[in-house]
């Protein structure tokens, strides 16, 4: 940006200082009211009866089982989408075939589906009244809908694109030169993948896993529809927050916000790690995420 030759002249390609400060102030005000205040509220509400009352939430068996279920669901859903993300990125970025961009559009599809609809489609397909659902229930004794498998499926659906969409553009940028060199020097396909491709994309992979995990642990709508909300059995952390919140007792309110504070803490950690990756490894992430 050019500076004026004379001290008093105003640069033609920026705004007067007064306008600049006004716009900066306005932005910070908007962000403070719309983003920071809700975040602060979670912690203030959790601590309104003191730290001990907030911590007492985590001795409630319902809360403990909700936390464990959330960890379990994320521990299944994230690796599934990780394997898919790597396979999809390999197939789309390392080869040329017709319909690749259409395939990318299909992979992004779950982002434009309402969470409630995401839960509903599985109920319609696998509910106990459907042929597939009845078959699982009678022949294997496995309930899918209103049970943990359904929660996992719905979570996989809503976090489906996260890792693939980080890897695909990056691997497309990187091309196939490195892999071709490794293969021509005698490496096997797996060796090439482990020692050449994976190190090239590891930060983007971590970035995708981070976002995928945050969404998997925090998903509400899709899981709410499909879980059946059996306390201690099919209730994840976000659902337990809702159950506490609906009790309207002051103590239950504290529990709701204490559990919410844990998830808000997770969100903050995610944001910090994400910003750190964007700052430190900007050149090793997909173009859209390079240090803003």
């Amino acid at each position: 940006m050019s500076k004026g030759v004379f001290k008093k002249s105003v640069s033609p390609v920026t705004e007067p200082p007064a306008v600049r400060y006004l716009l900066i102030g306005l932005s910070i005000l908007v962000l403070a009211v719309f983003l920071v205040l809700p975040l602060v509220t979670v912690f203030v509400q959790a601590l309104q009866m003191g730290l001990w009352q907030a911590l007492a939430t985590f001795s409630d068996p319902d809360a403990i089982s909700a936390i464990l279920l959330t960890l379990l669901v994320a521990a299944i859903a994230v690796p599934c989408n990780l394997v898919f993300g790597i396979a999809a990125a390999w197939a789309i970025a390392k080869y040329r075939f017709p319909g690749r961009s259409f395939l990318i559009t299909l992979i992004d599809l779950p982002f434009s589906v309402s969470p409630v609809v995401a839960g509903l489609v599985y109920i319609l397909l696998l509910g106990p009244f459907t042929p597939v659902g009845a078959w699982f229930l009678q022949d294997f004794g496995v309930r899918i809908i209103f049970a943990v498998p359904g929660i996992v499926l719905a979570t996989i659906f809503v976090t489906f694109p996260f890792i693939a969409r980080e890897l695909i553009p990056l691997m497309q940028d990187q091309g196939t030169g490195d892999e071709e060199a490794a293969l021509s020097l005698g490496a096997s396909g797996w060796q090439t993948f482990w020692h050449v491709t994976l190190p090239n994309v590891k930060w983007a992979l971590l970035y995708g896993v981070l976002l995928c995990n945050a969404r998997a642990m925090g998903e509400f709508g899709a899981v709410a529809v499909i879980s059946g909300k059996l306390r201690g059995e099919t209730v994840t952390m976000p659902l337990q927050i809702e159950l506490y919140y609906q009790e309207f007792r002051a103590l239950a309110q504290v529990s709701a916000f204490s559990l919410a504070a844990v998830l808000a803490g997770l969100a903050l950690v995610t944001l910090v790690l994400k910003s750190w990756l964007e700052w430190r490894y900007a050149d090793q992430l997909a173009a859209g995420n390079r240090g803003h």
Partner: protein, 279 residues
């Protein structure tokens, strides 16, 4: 003899494995369930489908969901442009922090956002109490729904406009200034047109997200039928009544709208790629 190939030849192994797995997983997790939803909807005969479409509760929820989402996405365009501009063009204290916090609505679980916003905007809440003396209630009214939708849609416009603004060539602005354009004229006639595809993309994404949003809205919405009931909540009610046909009909309508928006975004992007180069 030449053979027609699906993919161009390559020495890199693993195409069958990765491509096969990608397609299989995509079909099982995404395509089959969505096709199943449409098939369930097609089981309805026309008169029943028509009854659902013209039901007063559905119509009210439809107007509320799309109206509030439209207003929220428009507001997101205004503040998104402001914030993207400030982050890219100015250097100030806490700029990096501002940049990082913008993604909070993506990272914060929607249920957490929902109860936090409700606590803020009820008449006793920190913000609600500023408005209640004037007789303005925010929580449990359409205004509350709008607030929640503004919250969850906030990052979209910022994140689509930001990279385009960063790449914007300052020489063009200098040329405009040299030719006698005022700063305002340069911004309105030179910079904004270049940002238009990014703005439209961000608007569409924020709008699509808002229409389908559930978690952050239901706590602050009040959920009174025909007044503060959004479309996703109506689906949930139909499900609880075990009226699967009606639930899937409403879902199919919402899904079709999302697909049209997705198509629109792709069209905008291919149009802008042709007109402005890759953005």
């Amino acid at each position: 003899m030449t053979r027609i190939r699906f993919r161009e030849p390559s020495i890199i192994p693993g195409f069958r494995l990765t491509f096969g797995f990608t397609i299989l997983y995509l079909f099982l997790i995404v395509i089959v369930p969505i096709v199943g939803l449409y098939m369930k909807t097609f089981e309805l005969d026309w008169p029943s489908f028509w009854r659902i479409l013209t039901g007063s509760r559905f119509q009210a929820a439809l107007k509320l969901s799309f109206g509030a989402s439209l207003l929220a996405a428009l507001f997101n365009v205004v503040i998104g442009l402001l914030i993207a501009w400030v982050i890219v063009r100015y250097r100030f204290f806490a700029r990096r922090l501002v940049d990082a916090i913008i993604d909070l609505p993506f990272a914060l679980p929607t249920a957490v956002a929902g109860i936090a916003l409700t606590a803020l905007y009820v008449p006793q809440g920190w913000i609600g109490r500023l408005f209640s003396p004037y007789g303005i209630t925010i929580a449990y009214t359409p205004l509350g729904i709008w607030i929640a939708l503004v919250f969850i849609g906030l990052p979209f416009v910022v994140r689509t406009v930001q990279p385009v603004l960063e790449d914007f060539n300052a020489e063009v602005e200098e040329a405009a200034a040299t030719l006698g354009a005022s700063r305002l004229t340069t911004i309105v006639r030179v910079i904004l047109p270049a940002l238009l595809p990014a703005i439209l993309t961000g608007f569409s994404l924020a709008f699509a997200r808002a229409v389908g949003e559930y978690g952050s809205v239901i706590f602050i919405a009040g959920n009174i039928p025909r007044q503060t009931e959004i479309l996703p909540l109506l689906i949930v009610f139909r499900l609880e009544e075990r009226d699967y046909a009606a639930a899937s009909a409403i879902a199919a309508i919402m899904l079709t709208v999302s697909f049209l928006i997705l198509l629109l975004v792709n069209l905008i992007q291919s149009w802008s790629n042709r007109r402005f180069g890759n953005v």
